[in-house]
Symmetry: C2
Subunit: 221 residues, 2 copies
């Protein structure tokens, strides 16, 4: 079942998530194709994305909820976007919440979830060996996804899932050092090991360092 999931992505194109208008606009804002402060005229989006106003408006309202767009009544929608500071701040946020998630997950993980986590980690080892960064990025998401599910706090899971997207495209085309995947793998190994040993403190520490490192790698300094 987990195997199926990754082989599906493996078979499919490089593009991970659905390409509905909402995701596309999200991507284009986060990758700065649509710039901070820019006005998003509905008709313009209709033309550029080749859809009618109804789906455009629906997407804009969704973007408004997660703060990527600001809507001023009767005046229009404006890109809010994310500053470099915002991105750093989100890594700090993710750190707090995902550290807590690991703690709860280690306490509450089911056998089935543990199997999935194990399988996923093995995939990570495999694709590190193959040096396939693209696959690793997808599997990495899966790894964290399993943890956020395993903490059995539906709202924390929801929060982690929705905040993950803000940092999704950060440092995407930044050149990676040769040992990038090895380092990433070792960070995940420490997290995974904390699960096998049911060591909450070790898990919390490993996750905290992992996200701190992600922040360093992707934001620099």
């Amino acid at each position: 079942m987990v195997l199926y999931k990754y082989s599906e992505e493996l078979a499919g194109s490089a593009l991970p998530l659905s390409n509905n208008l909402y995701s596309m606009l999200q991507r284009d804002i986060l990758t700065n194709k649509l710039k901070e402060g820019e006005k998003l005229t509905e008709q313009r989006l209709c033309d550029e994305y080749e859809v009618s106003r109804t789906p455009v408006r629906e997407a804009l309202r969704q973007l408004e909820i997660n703060g990527l767009v600001e809507n001023i009544p009767n005046r229009g929608s404006f890109v809010v976007g994310m500053s470099e500071q915002d991105v750093k701040d989100i890594f700090d946020l993710r750190k707090i919440n995902e550290v807590q998630a690991v703690r709860w997950a280690i306490q509450r993980i089911t056998e089935e979830e543990m199997t999935a986590l194990e399988e996923t980690f093995e995939f990570m080892e495999f694709y590190t060996m193959k040096n396939d960064i693209k696959k690793m990025i997808n599997i990495n998401r899966g790894f964290h996804q399993i943890i956020s599910t395993a903490c059995h706090n539906r709202m924390l899971e929801h929060m982690i899932d929705s905040y993950q997207m803000y940092t999704r495209y950060v440092g995407e085309e930044k050149p990676k050092p040769d040992d990038y995947l090895q380092v990433l793998l070792e960070e995940h190994r420490r997290i995974f090991q904390a699960f096998t040993e049911k060591d909450e403190e070790a898990g919390a520490k490993a996750m905290e360092e992992h996200i701190a490192n992600c922040k360093l790698r992707q934001c620099g300094e």
Copy 2:
């Protein structure tokens, strides 16, 4: 300016936020008027809320983002709703994040924000004296709002603001003990005092206990 804000609410009706369709549906899901699993046919919502399908669809898509509604393509929208466990979980989430917010806020609060916080706290004292629960609930929101702003982490502020709504209607018509406002005021006094003394640890502790108490008061046990 802060004064204006509250006097505006004072003059206005009891209903705090805007009564657009999104807020109304949100309220009706969270107060269980629309029940878990219930299908939300667009036409039915048009009839019941007396609007056309366009705003209905926009609202449904927004509710989907914050997880109150699930949308299955070509089949429709279904109420997800919140279990009692979810509500408890959210208080735990809020605890983690608002404790962190207090820490950062104590470090980073501006003079202007400090003045606003002071003013707000004085309003709390005033309405506790007047024993006006409705006003206190609004001002309470304002108090926490100022803190989430003062932490100067735009994304944490956004998170706190959006998660606040999940517990907004919880225990609303539950009878309150006689000393309810006094107790609430004292909890806030401890938080406020931590700000005046710039004591991060005291602030964190006060906020943690405050939210734990909110959970106790509103969820019981």
